[in-house]
Point group: C2
Chain length 458, copies 2
């Protein structure tokens, strides 16, 4: 086991094996399986994978690693696109998937207490008969701990917010192995620094999240999904701005450009639709409220170049549409079989979105890459999937950075929901030139040895 | 000027006077005027008051104070109830009221960039003809910088959130005088640590907020306000829980107990109402949506012991109701002329609210104090005003702490929106026993000399 390892790593793994027995795994297969997320491949796997089943396990594991200065990489479902789970310095990956208990559902308070390894689909499965649901939907069936760590959001964020908005409190194991509780179950608090939102989005660099208090929402009486097709991306996005300004409480508002729509039509057999700029809309509310929202949206779209809007109220029709949206990534990849995708995650003020997408489309056209675009445009967030082969990987990465820089220049951000990971570290310094020093001060104070998910974010 | 001052303070004031001239004030009257907020009286005033008019002024002022290790107390409108602006170690109060420019209104993006000294009423006055408004309403006409610093909220928070939810980004001058930008104008971001929400609620202990990017909202087409009176507080609060579980998007949901209602009836001449537990409700939306919300609320209240609900749709009728609610503090104080009030700010999970208020009423009855109760019950937040004279001040403080401890024991918080200040420091350690050490680490790292609003929070 200790072949070629540094002495302190060997001693660490021995101590972990003694404490954890079979819950510590060091086989090549399992280490390789934990080397990467769904994004770029890793240069090396971790040296071991630990499967904690309790907060005490995490605390003990962290203390053992800290005593030997061995890196710790928290791991949820491995769905990160940004190299968050790469073991860049080796070390021990903490796979949280066995901490998957739903500890309490408080229906009256619309909140839930879950361990970090519960996935969003598992939570919603558990809630099925309660009349409640957890709305955040990043597409992947991520763990809730992982979603908090990356400040994830997805298609419902325009109405229900991001993980920073739905997380009431966390249990965190610090890099010293101390267990702390941040926040609580009250809906709001002004008691001290907002550690909850410091750890949300900290990408495992400040500690290991072991449980979360999350907000839930009542399942709406009526859900209506609509598809509207436009002659131009600009008109589609102006319609989005108008809908938001009117205060229509849309639940989802998704944009697919003509390239992405062409791919989705073929992949998901949406033969009734055209390869044109398209909005997918979802409305939640009472029957009266949803009908009212439909009227408002119809009025807005009628004054654009929208050819028509079709509504799906039956569950199976809605499901077909959103499955097509969820499969957009695979549909896009099918445009260039065998190619990989660099996925951008820029987010801009909504008034800049039409110009931004026009500028991005020009960049993409000059680059020669096939670049379908999908976006959570209700938030100003859009993903360009840059399809590339092995030789053009670097050029694709450069285009991805150029697109992020367009967003930064326009007052936006390089990442709306995917995070910095090991892929956007240069962009972080460009976007937060003045604030990154303060972030580094916090990192160095709370994790002075730098053992928590090293080389991520910074 | 330097009589009796420490040498370093004298040198500091000389340097400030040289840099700022008339913008530095050291007269007794102005220092006394800045000694306290609207809460308890201070034991001493600051040694000087600085009126910066630019970020550069703040940065220079902070650097001069830092060079002489002199305390800095940021000051907005002085409406804090918790001793936030007390100069416990003397020092220089930075009065931000001259930094009152509205720097940009982005109507398409529903956001605004304001200097920290802009008050919420000034902002809404400026927005009057834009169709937009800033909804957060803590009652007092606080500055937006002060509201961010204390993580304020108020009557609209159940729908529009607290300052943590509506603040997109901040400009902050660090304790070293460095100007940093946190966040930006994008609706969401996953780029690095959430410094915006670290400074929101940091009560001036980590830096001076000089400007804010804030979210705005469209003025609703229809606003309806309603008053419902109940036989018991418990029934009123069960009705609140039912409304929230149904997902009715109420804008305000305020509770007044029978003692507070009696006071409001006399103070604001609400002679059509009875001194019974009462809910004030406000609904925002399109005409169709508001009518639908009214129907849903009528159905819920009909299955409680609610005698009737009366709706006010005309601006003047609504205004009369909410003026009465805003004046609840003065109405309450009129119950015991010449007395002061200790105001609690507990916030609990909503399912515990009825039991919590029952427990608090028992404590209040045993104490012998007159204790009217008002609450933002949509959030589980309520204020007990403990009316006391000079002799009973300490007993009133003890009762306030006991009420906060009831909330903490029930999984809630000692302060939903007023903050820790210099009044709730013991309660902070009780509520966040495990996390306070992490907060202190951040404080000591970012402000190693401890010059930023010393002795607040910790």
């Amino acid at each position: 086991m200790a072949d070629g390892l540094l002495p302190e790593l060997g001693a660490c793994l021995e101590a972990l094996a003694e404490r954890f027995g079979e819950a510590l795994r060091t086989g090549h297969a399992i280490c390789n399986q934990h080397a990467s997320g769904e994004g770029p491949a890793a240069s090396r796997p971790p040296d071991a994978v630990l499967f904690p089943t309790s907060v005490r396990d995490v605390s003990d594991g962290v203390q053992i690693c800290a005593a030997h200065r061995v890196a710790i990489i928290p791991y949820g479902a491995g769905t990160s696109l940004e190299g968050h789970v790469h073991a860049l310095r080796g070390g021990v990956t903490f796979d949280m998937s066995l901490m998957d208990r739903i500890l309490a559902v408080n229906a009256s308070d619309l909140d839930v207490h879950v361990e970090a390894g519960v996935t969003r689909e598992a939570l919603n499965g558990h809630l099925r008969d309660s009349g409640l649901f957890f709305p955040l939907d990043p597409g992947a069936n991520a763990t809730l701990g992982g979603m908090a760590a990356t400040r994830a959001s997805g298609t419902n964020a325009v109405r229900y917010g991001t993980m920073k908005d739905v997380t009431l409190g966390l249990t965190v194991v610090t890099p010293q192995g101390v267990v702390i509780e941040t926040g609580g179950r009250a809906r709001k608090s002004s008691m001290g620094y907002d550690l909850t939102r410091l750890y949300v989005g900290s990408e495992g660099t400040l500690g290991v999240i072991t449980s979360l208090h999350l907000r839930l929402f009542g399942i709406p009486e009526v859900i209506a999904a609509g598809v509207a097709q436009f002659q131009s991306a600009g008109e589609a996005i102006l319609a989005v701005i108008a809908v938001l300004q009117m205060g229509v409480p849309v639940a989802r508002l998704e944009f697919l450009d003509e390239v992405q729509m062409g791919a989705c039509i073929r992949w998901s057999k949406l033969t009734e639709l055209l390869a044109k700029p398209t909005l997918f809309v979802e409305l939640h509310g009472s029957a009266v409220s949803v009908a009212d929202q439909q009227d408002q949206i119809r009025d807005v779209f009628a004054s654009s170049d929208c050819a028509n809007i079709q509504w799906a109220l039956r569950t199976e029709d809605r499901s077909r549409l959103w499955t097509a949206r969820h499969n957009a990534y695979w549909a896009a990849k099918s445009l260039c079989p065998g190619y990989d995708a660099v996925t951008t995650d820029a987010c801009v003020p909504i008034s800049d979105l039409a110009d931004t997408i026009a500028e991005v489309k020009t960049l993409a056209a000059h680059s020669g890459f096939v670049c379908p675009i999908v976006g959570h445009v209700g938030d100003g967030n859009f993903h360009v999937m840059i399809l590339h082969d092995a030789q053009s990987r670097e050029a694709a990465d450069r285009l991805g950075c150029d697109i992020a820089r367009v967003a930064i220049r326009r007052g936006g951000t390089a990442s709306g929901e995917h995070g910095v990971g090991s892929c956007r570290k240069t962009l972080l310094r460009e976007e937060h030139a003045t604030a990154v020093q303060t972030m580094l001060q916090i990192k160095s104070q709370l994790d002075p040895m730098g053992i928590m998910n090293p080389d991520k974010i910074f």
